[in-house]
Symmetry: C3
Subunit: 297 residues, 3 copies
Amino acid sequence: MDDLTNENMMQVIESAEAIRQGHAQLKRPYYAANLFFENSTRTKSSFEMAEKKLGMDVISFDAQTASIQKGETLYDTVKTLEAIGVDVVVIRHGEDRYFDQLEGRVKLSMINGGDGMGHHPSQCMLDLLTIYQDYHTFKGLKITIVGDIQHSRVARSNAIALKRLGAAVQFSGPLDWMDPELMQIGRYVEFDEAVEKSDVLMMLRVQHERHAFGMTFSKEEYHAQFGLTAGREKRMKAGSIIMHPAPVNRGVEIADELVECDRSRIFKQMSNGVFVRMAMLQFVLQQREALKHEFVN
Amino acid sequence: MDDLTNENMMQVIESAEAIRQGHAQLKRPYYAANLFFENSTRTKSSFEMAEKKLGMDVISFDAQTASIQKGETLYDTVKTLEAIGVDVVVIRHGEDRYFDQLEGRVKLSMINGGDGMGHHPSQCMLDLLTIYQDYHTFKGLKITIVGDIQHSRVARSNAIALKRLGAAVQFSGPLDWMDPELMQIGRYVEFDEAVEKSDVLMMLRVQHERHAFGMTFSKEEYHAQFGLTAGREKRMKAGSIIMHPAPVNRGVEIADELVECDRSRIFKQMSNGVFVRMAMLQFVLQQREALKHEFVN
Amino acid sequence: MDDLTNENMMQVIESAEAIRQGHAQLKRPYYAANLFFENSTRTKSSFEMAEKKLGMDVISFDAQTASIQKGETLYDTVKTLEAIGVDVVVIRHGEDRYFDQLEGRVKLSMINGGDGMGHHPSQCMLDLLTIYQDYHTFKGLKITIVGDIQHSRVARSNAIALKRLGAAVQFSGPLDWMDPELMQIGRYVEFDEAVEKSDVLMMLRVQHERHAFGMTFSKEEYHAQFGLTAGREKRMKAGSIIMHPAPVNRGVEIADELVECDRSRIFKQMSNGVFVRMAMLQFVLQQREALKHEFVN
């Protein structure tokens, strides 16, 4: 996200909206490969759909059996794909800023599908698009991010981008889970205050992997203290919306019956993910001069 | 299969025959995903071929790395695929009637690729098509299903559908492997009587996983008592045919040299599998009013 | 490679060159499946790209979950794919001459993607094409293959084919790693002599799996004795080239900074792999009379 100006972000949002209402198609086949060194079926499927809707061919890549397991560097893996004719790679990798070793050294286009605990630009862009569809602006919106702020790349990217676009970002959830650095971007608020005064409630997934329930909280305790219950939903501001990056722990972050309620944008976020990724693919391909005129809009 | 009337079944058979002789193609791209929570390469490849022959794009789905492993429900997984734009899912799942939790709650089209020990409609339909190609009717045909009736979803679905279509269904094989419930549909016959008097012999796979040979039977003993040997094949009724859902244990259910003999329809069943699955995909898509006119026949 | 005459080889090379400069496309969809029973992402991706560039549809095949794991024979697996409509299979298998059990028994087209320690024709053809692009002939070229000759299918296939095409083949590397049989094709030379007098240096990968460094050589010792160092590169014959089948152990077979130097054809070999595989696919499909006119060149 750091590479994008505010204008770039608005350009991706507007182009995603245009794609959603019409369509975008490449004039001839281009080749994409999705290098997911961390599991994330949801993000991978969404990129694959975006690539196919643009008319790209997708070359399958299985990180488990790749030569990288024999000690090949990420650079050599990507360079190999470039050599066989891949035009764009989407990479998700556990290492923070893995892309530093690739930038300026390869000719194909790259999209970051998530790195370590750092960035997750396509998730961030789809969240921005979803908010934009409701409010048509970010200026002055009160947006509260709730949950495990410290370990969430979504929280970090979103907080920074939303602040840059003019929103008032706040954080809520267990105090121990806050991120001291992000506290310079927005203040901590009690959850019940957040529920009543926010335009957007962005609930984060509680990662069982990280927080063994029973240790700090039982599922029931978390839901009672920091979960969106039916009672809290009734106290939400008129017109305000609920977001969640999914998969949802039903009955923990959000009551089961609220996941598809009127205020919920959760499945809409997933649909928007495809449009945003199409726009991002178009964006990186168009940065290569020769590909500028390859799109039929 | 319970959802299909006899007319529906004949409609699928006739449309599979039409597809086999000509072709069917969707006018614009549709998106399919194959959710195989149980391994079945054969069925999965066949559906994938059917989808591609119809002109669909297939979004890859790896059940091993899916969010369902993090506790996501099947409903949320399917709903996610719907949200990203998948038009039809084929699901194979170890749980009986897994589809009950989905029916009426999702907008995309679904095909059951096999559930628990219950149903396996596409296998059933391809068996029906194969018989129909030889006899052009089911009325009065003597059809014997041989082997592990009790643990076979193929046996169950086929027996019920064939009986409904007017065939005389019989069972043979080790007495311990019979299914008391299915005995209301047809009687038990000695294997040598079945060999001589059946129009169709449907041999089932002996599942090594389930029946450790050496415990009840050695492979040789099973072959001698319930296997189709060269000697038995010679005593089969004129014009009668041999079927098997595959993979065959050569030299157990069927003598090696009979697998591709004149009476054998085993590889033809596999070819028919693709046509039937194309017809089923067409069938479910056409049930969505808006898609009725999307096929070029 | 044994099946190909010298004329066949030149035909594949010339058709790969034509494809590289123009393109080849099938007039209607054909279906390919890549059966990789041994991991080799590089070769598999390259074949997949070749198939897609020809306009083929690729049916996914996962060797780990295939019925072959339940004891199905390779013949039945291939015959199944033929039955569902696959036109061409590419097979990589750990067993030497696995294809003997298939030849003449199946109707679809087959390409050997590597068998046991025996053959790896597409790697061989891409190496030939790469040399041909520089020298436009093989006659009289001095070509030295360096490294673990004994365990390399690349070394074996290349040595035989290059000799047949008129090149003077030599071998270098640790004496213990030489292959007595291949010594009838070419002589052993000291590495420093090879560096100075060869037109082509084909470096082989040191397989950590096989040669635990520290036992025979440390990485540093191997590099000092048999590796292409910056110093050695300076003493190479004018116009001579460096090849390697990849993945390279940077700093072992070749100094890190030489992998992409002017003399290196390493990434060009990978690009050529796609063109050669397209030519091979075209070659086997055209051997089936009915498919001869299906290509738009």
